[in-house]
Amino acid sequence: MRTPPPATAEVPTPQQRESAVTIYERSVEGRRAATLPPTDVPEAPLEELIPERLLRADGPALPEVSEPEIVRHYNRLSRRNFDLDTGPYPLGSCTMKHNPRLNEKVAALPGHARLHPAQDPKRAQGALELMWRLERSLSELCGLPHVSLQPSAGSHGELAGLLLTRAYHEDRGEQRTKVLTPDTAHGTNPATVTMAGYEVVKVETDERGGVDVDDLRDKATEEVACLMLTNPNTLGLFDENIAEIASIVHGVGGTLYYDGANLNAIMGHTRPGDMGFDIVHLNLHKTFSQPHGGGGPGAGPIAVSDRIAPFLPVPRIVREEPAHASTNGSGPSFGLEYEAPKSIGRLRGFQGNFGVFVRSYAYISSLGGDGLREASEVAVLNANYLLARLRAGRAAKYLPLAFDRTPMHEFVLSGTPAKRELQVKTLDIAKRLLDYGFHPPTIYFPLLVDEALMVEPTETETRESLDQLAEAIESILAEAEQDPSILHEAPYTTPVRRLDEAAASRKPIIRQALD
């Protein structure tokens, strides 16, 4: 493998020498990039059109820069990011799979990108049909009959799910107050529970990394509205007791919610609906190749069972068979249905993140049923191969599996031995990985694993890149054996070195000061 990267910062890299300058600091009075069309209507003084007291005295101090400066500024900035097209990004729970450019190309078609959301459905049939087809595909993948694409991301889908649960129970005259979440749950789960007005009840994890069924039985009371689960869970382990878990929750009249962030492990192999889940959210920006964009956009469609369907958000996409008024000629036509007496209503404006739907529809069309199944198969293969490579080396000793079972698409290591025997924390290992040119795995999650390293390579990594990642970790552990301070001081070669995060929150500077 390549020689280890430098462990000194004496000679700053070219990027380290570029000090951060904001676009505001580049501003020079009188410069501009935009030219606007001329005013082709009477140039009445503004005060004659809008009362002066409602007008702004002096405009916002936006930057004054020329177009070439803008292009250079953001091009240079972009290079201060690590990205998926630069190297492996095994960020556990985030499914950083390849983002096909075909998806960007079809999303950019004027018929999509330039389509106004309030366009008359009669004149947006292509968009509505695409959404309808995507709903059907997701329904088949989830094994649940009804889908709403509206939620904007996973956490938004979770909120929708709990509001649906509430509506469902209230419709049956029940007031339930608690929602069960395993201690392995992602932070958005408990946060959503609170936001939906429920009380969180934690369920323990058993020694095999699954839900502690006895603990679940104890806590599954009539007060329980819902159990939120992801399977495989955030340890990357499939909970074999899922059927029993479902019957316990259903037994007390609760709903079962599936956090779809890990669907990439099981597409075409098993389905949440078949496991007994009532409500599922999917992350199109994970499983279905929507680029993450440095923190969005995404989309969090939900799929539900018949009993939940009446409460789904509006508008719904409806398919009307031919011979109906609004069809332009042959085939079926598509519309937006706003009337649904039991609906929880809206979660956002218009029809959801349509641009994301187009990309995910293109992705599903590209792979097809078999391709999706194989994608999950290779995702699981890659994770297990990487694990095997790691266990063949020092990781076996310093970074053991948190739960020693065959993982699926991701696995969680514990850095406890490394901390104890090498005096290096998981954070140190992660930072040193940056010097080796890899994005680190997710760290310190799930919380129940001490010094957790959560690794998800995804199916689009090559065997060679997994080998290199394993070698990098091996080399880092060897460095730690020799001199842990190499890791403590890392990274050395990134655009900036370790940053003082505490200071940023103690006395927050969250905007450019202007004078």
Partner: protein, 461 residues
């Protein structure tokens, strides 16, 4: 091989051997047999890239977009010109493909952009603190309500002007199902929220009032007067604002607004049939630690270099879990980047010039349409970039007819405002020239006349 993967048969064999299992099935052994999907997925077969493109392009061709017709639709999203450099920059892999910046040392690009974005939003709104984006406009109002309920300990009522976007009001209602809070609505008078009437609704139990500027009917509200009413009984004033107008309209921060939110689409984002775009969220200093969403902050690295990180993460779900100020995780970073670039492009002068152009063109359009026989102004209040009229004819029929002439004349109000049965909301952007407006007026005149004819015919009979 499935598109985008690279495991050849040789790879698979070698990998399985390294793992020590005979087949990939063994890796799925934990899935109980009776839960396995024993059949292929009922989805079409995978297609070549050319086929996928052709198929989706054929769907796209069945939409009438703002390139193929003259679009006066607004109602929260607007056909502003997006300069080419925006798409060029946001399509760079380095911005398009990374995750949320959890490793700041290799995410300085995205983090600095957030910092610049927060600065821009703070400047636009005249409020000191802003976050790095929320999903979109309407749900941002609900997020502001969540903050207000937290801040106004015990206060349980939310008073919403009917001038707030109907989608936002509906979203607030939906979110409120989870809170034991009551949403009450205050109506409009002459297109505006009436401070006097508002007063009847605001008391010690009100956590916040919610207004929009301009409001959904295009009217420019007197934010200061409305904020005063709220403050008089200790409630917060939350305003949803249209960022494009903030070059000319008095910013919420100057009017005493506590929290300003809004829809960011108009700032360099595509129409995209409604999303993805971004929501923004700005507030007074005191609400900083209750704010939802990511916030980038400035700091220094081990060598003292300036750098940026995610600040105040203890507000967030991944740290605080059930005690988080909000559940949001993935937001709209790329769309916020587009907004940041757009605002740098527009610049200090451009945002004012654009605002002035819109106000003048809107005034011209309003006057020109009002002069059409069968068109009346729905209200006389001042407007900035959108205005409402009532047609003396069935609006649906009129829109269909005008649609055939390649014009989307506007947004019909009836579904969300039954009180305006033939109301029409008309939006103006810098892309709608005087000639376009004149064409619209002629088309309206013709369509209204045509729509009336049958009626008169009946009258005669």
């Amino acid at each position: 091989m499935s598109r985008y993967t690279s495991a050849t048969d040789a790879d698979r064999a070698a990998m399985l051997e390294a793992i020590g299992v005979g087949s990939t099935d063994a890796l799925f052994a934990d899935i109980p047999a009776d839960l396995r999907l024993g059949r292929p997925l009922e989805l079409p077969d995978g297609l070549s890239e050319a086929e996928v493109f052709d198929q989706i392009a054929a769907l796209a061709a069945r939409n009438a977009d703002a390139d193929s017709e003259t679009c006066f639709l607004g109602a929260g999203m607007y056909d502003h010109y997006v300069p080419a450099l925006v798409e060029a920059i946001i399509s760079r892999s380095e911005f398009l493909t990374p995750y949320t910046p959890y490793q700041p040392e290799v995410s300085q690009g995205g983090l600095q952009v957030m910092f610049e974005f927060q600065t821009a939003i703070s400047e636009l709104t005249g409020l000191p603190v802003a976050n790095a984006s929320l999903y979109e406009g309407p749900s941002s109002i609900a997020s502001a309500a969540y903050l207000a309920l937290g801040a106004g300990k015990g206060r349980r009522r939310l008073v919403v002007s009917r001038g707030v976007h109907p989608h936002a009001r509906a979203t607030l209602e939906t979110y409120a199902r989870g809170w034991d809070a009551k949403v009450v609505e205050v109506g409009l008078r002459d297109g505006l929220t009436d401070p006097a009437e508002l007063e009847n609704y605001v008391d010690q139990d009100v956590a916040a009032i919610f207004v929009s500027n301009p409001n959904f009917l295009g009217a420019v509200e007197d934010l200061e007067a409305l904020a005063t009413v709220a403050h008089n009984s200790g409630a917060l004033c939350v305003a949803s604002v249209d960022p494009i107008t903030l070059g000319v309209l008095r910013p919420p921060g100057e009017c005493g607004v506590d929290v300003a939110v809004g829809e960011g689409q108009a700032l360099g984002n595509r129409l995209d049939f409604g999303g993805p775009s971004f929501g923004f969220f700005a507030a007074t200093e005191e609400h900083l630690r209750r704010m939802p969403g990511r916030i980038a902050g400035e700091t220094a690295d081990a060598d003292g270099r300036r750098g940026f990180v995610l600040a105040l993460q203890t507000r967030e779900q991944h740290i605080r879990r059930e005690k988080a100020t909000h559940n949001i995780c993935t937001s709209q970073a790329l769309n916020a980047l587009a907004g940041t670039i757009y605002l740098a492009w527009l610049g200090r002068r451009g945002i004012v010039e654009l605002g002035e152009l819109l106000v003048r063109r809107t005034a011209y359009a309003r006057g020109t349409l009002a002069a059409v026989d069968g068109v009346e102004l729905l209200h006389e209040a001042p407007v900035a970039r959108e205005f409402a009229v009532t047609l003396d004819a069935p609006v649906a029929a009129v829109l269909d007819r005008i649609g055939e002439e390649g014009i989307a004349a506007g947004y019909p109000l009836a579904r969300e405002y039954p009180e305006y049965e033939n109301g029409l909301l008309v939006a103006i952007t810098e892309r709608r020239s005087k000639d376009d407006i004149d064409r619209l007026a002629d088309a309206l005149a013709g369509a209204i006349a045509a729509a009336r004819r049958p009626q008169t015919a009946e009258a005669v009979a």
